[in-house]
Point group: C2
Chain length 210, copies 2
């Protein structure tokens, strides 16, 4: 009955184990929140001992920061189709904004809210958050600049337009944890409509371009 489990000790390559730990922590962060990332919790998920996680991350906060960076970078790649994909800027922007406004975004919106708050207490996480914000901001500004060059968008200041759009996206993301968000026509597609106004696109262009 009280047979202790085999406890067969598996030794992996350090990089492999480390990647596995970060990936697991990122999944926990997305599903349950950054504060649920603990040495014990990650260890349980991987079927190893907590001490091992501590071996790779002597400061638990570093694991939290890295997990957020991993999750945010991975999700951004999903949200913003690369220019290499061959899509025109209008379609790329539309993809981004539609997904960001859609139901699938709730987890990621929550994660950003989570990280932005937690960075108040964890300076390391704050640095990562700001770095991720910079990357997203630059990617969006670049996308807009592409559109201006191709004549699809009209904007004097691509970075200014990107910032404005992101403020709207983050503002809407503030309500990620409201189980019953306030329903009003003004908030429907607010990010899409804001982008169309800023880039001088006829209303409905973005949603239609998908």
């Amino acid at each position: 009955m009280t047979s202790s489990p085999p406890a067969t000790r598996v030794r992996k390559l350090p990089e492999e184990r480390r990647a596995e730990i970060v990936r697991t922590a990122a999944r926990i962060a997305l599903e349950e929140g950054l504060e649920r990332i603990t040495l014990r919790r990650v260890a349980d998920e991987l079927g190893v001992r907590p001490g091992l996680i501590g071996h790779y991350f002597p400061a638990a906060d570093d694991l939290v920061s890295e997990a957020f960076a991993f999750a945010a970078a991975g999700e951004r790649d999903t949200l913003m189709p690369d220019a290499e994909a061959g899509l025109p800027p209008t379609a790329r922007l539309a993809h981004f904004l539609v997904r960001v406004g859609g139901d699938d975004y709730v987890d990621l919106g929550r994660l950003w809210l989570n990280a932005r708050h937690l960075s108040r207490f964890k300076p390391g996480l704050g640095a990562v958050v700001r770095a991720q914000e910079t990357t997203t901001r630059n990617a969006l500004a670049e996308l807009i600049a592409d559109g201006v060059r191709s004549g699809e968008f009209t904007a004097e200041d691509a970075m200014g337009a990107a910032l404005h759009i992101l403020v709207t996206v983050d503002g809407l993301g503030s309500y990620s944890n409201d189980d019953v968000p306030f329903d009003h026509p003004a908030v429907h597609d607010m990010a899409l409509r804001t982008a169309e106004r800023l880039l001088v696109l006829p209303p409905g262009t973005l949603r239609r371009s998908i």
Copy 2:
């Protein structure tokens, strides 16, 4: 040396003690965050024993919710001058948006970020957050409706405009914990300029009206 402090036991009226506890917890929340509200911490501030706080708040979460409600309601009264103050809608709106965009708002912006995130784990707090959002939303919509009635503003949908303004305010509030916010003309007075556009006011009207 080891003289134990007198431990003079002060007995206060329940309502008085309770109010004192909530007020102290709200101050801690504003200065250090809602998660710093603990029975021990509040007890230390008041010079009483932790058990006493537990007596008034058998569930610690309820103290957190009430502290947030107290802080948010109190700060809103400061931010949004009442109609009774005799100020015209334009000046009242300008006061609100200037303060919300100013440096004094960081603490409150952080608190809202804090509460919106924490409500993921504390349903009771979530209900309070939504109630406070509703109150703010209605107050702003009412202010805008006043302005439309007096002919100062032009808006078909006062609630829609209020929502749009609040999304912008909350979006900007997302960056409350960034020690070095990204500096760009587009974010300067974004809330003010958004309000002027929505309410069909000449640019600069709001800031000038103070």
